[in-house]
Symmetry: C2
Subunit: 337 residues, 2 copies
Amino acid sequence: MVDDRKLAVLRAIVEDYVSTNEPVGSKALADRHNLGVSPATIRNDMAVLEEQGYIAQPHTSAGRVPTDKGYRLFVDRLSQVKPLSSAERKAIESFLAGAVDIDDVVMRTVRLLAQLTRQVAVVQYPTLTHSTVRHVELVPLSERRLMFVLITNTGRVEQRVVELPNVVDEQRVAHLRAMLNASLDGCGLTSVPDKVADLPELLPTEDRPLAATILSVLLESLVDRHDEKIVFAGAANLAGADFTVGLRDVLEALEEQVVLMRLLGETSDLSALTVRIGSENPYTGLQGTSIVAAGYGSGDKQLARLGVLGPTRMDYPVTMGAVRAVARYVSQILAAS
Amino acid sequence: MVDDRKLAVLRAIVEDYVSTNEPVGSKALADRHNLGVSPATIRNDMAVLEEQGYIAQPHTSAGRVPTDKGYRLFVDRLSQVKPLSSAERKAIESFLAGAVDIDDVVMRTVRLLAQLTRQVAVVQYPTLTHSTVRHVELVPLSERRLMFVLITNTGRVEQRVVELPNVVDEQRVAHLRAMLNASLDGCGLTSVPDKVADLPELLPTEDRPLAATILSVLLESLVDRHDEKIVFAGAANLAGADFTVGLRDVLEALEEQVVLMRLLGETSDLSALTVRIGSENPYTGLQGTSIVAAGYGSGDKQLARLGVLGPTRMDYPVTMGAVRAVARYVSQILAAS
DNA sequence: CTTGGCACTCGGGAACACAGAGTGCCAAAC
DNA sequence: GTTTGGCACTCTGTGTTCCCGAGTGCCAAG
């Protein structure tokens, strides 16, 4: 029913529509692609494709436009991810290599991706879930305040100022610091609560209130950041494109961490690309947009996800290539640091 | 030449135009504001105001629209900053009070300001220039790597991973850490380079390469952040407004740190509001937009600036009130922490 | 199954007319 | 001298009509 030629027609429709942004007709198809058949034949094929739901016409007697289902078929079976040019690879590598800390890595990544794809790029900060504790530091700020700093193996730093229940001297702080490090060093963040639970009992009675205060802040900071930080860039690239939904809605969605979170999704293993097309999108306010996302991480653990958001009518092979490449390079950078 | 009634007319024009977004004619003015004169009189006044350059007509025989010069006069002499309602104050206070660290403060502030003004909000991170060193920490990560952390009195944390020239033991690191803290504690960031210059000489010869490496990273991190970090929020609010310049240009400008920097400006003392109207704007790509900005800081030192960007046709009294209020509350928060 | 022919449909642009809001100016009134 | 009503004039924006052309579906012939 859907033979090879029909698939070729669908591919041609998607490609033409993506590049011209106008409904594509049978004549234009016959001209631009050498399919070896006449417009009339193509029309017949198009009628079938339309009946199957792969394409649609905006108005009676206009050209055809791919539906979400059509794009899906295109992405799954009719296209292959387009690798980047070596010049682009070079550029990515050198741009990312200059990063000085984790904030910088994320910032550079999101900008790079936006520039590369000419879409809106979204990058999630490396999750703490799979991270391990590298060091805990307690810094006295004044008699009754200290700063608590947690450094993870991904270079991420969590800091909190703690108000103390009573005046403490340097001695006790040093002791507590040593204990914390001895107990937590190299420990996965998810298991920190368990490890920490027994600690106060090992301390002299007079230190317990102090320890309890600090530990509660520590635990709180872990919970707080369970909703991960997400940044985006390239909003200017939205200005040209017109969505079925208003530009305002898209911008609003982008500023909602929670929505971004859900957009990037969570499934799939590290190297797989996720493509969400139009209505497949979990967030109803973003009809007419597609998301291409991938996981990244150091080693074999997926730390977080990144991707781009653009109009359903996007160049999937190129976008997918860029997202995949950037995800890989970021993984490299993180593994090296 | 420009008597009181003409000023009243100008004020009325600005107010009406801001609220309706349509050129305002003499008849409408006479109706909506009770100026006590007839449309014909108003027409005469308007002719004079136009000749002076305060208003203009988009086309022959359309209503009048304020020029940048007109808005300027309005802001300087015809309006007074509108204070927030007590409900709004409450909301601000409680929203900002929940912040856990400096990132959180900035993030909350920018969102708050965007929501309050329904414009794009821009907030600069507290500058390091006027900050003082609260603590320096050296954290060994492995044999040849350590993390260097600088904590300032504004709660800001700078961190860098340092690759060491040779293997060092805990002992030496501790010594260097103690020296650094003794030397830098409480010292203004601008004077750090001076203080640090003599340090290597006080150390035993074998420690000098180590010290030099770390110090160079320290100095570098100060320079790096001399271009301060700026964030914005509320881009969605741009969607409705139409600028003389394209939406794309505005969004692009917003993603350029350097441009944002110049937009916020640097002059003026702590409590003053800066208003840049249309062509007064230092960045030519943003014709048709105005910026309302204010400094904020803890105590009497200005740490950084914040503000909003919107169409020239904005409600200045309300916007100025919101910016001023938020700047004050942020200052309070920072002073308290 | 493919192809050329043909009648049909509709969207979008050009041409046009028109109402409405607003102006400028002038002479009369205060 | 300032204010006012009257009046002619000038635009913009909107609605209408009309027509072209791209594109389709169908059909009969290859």
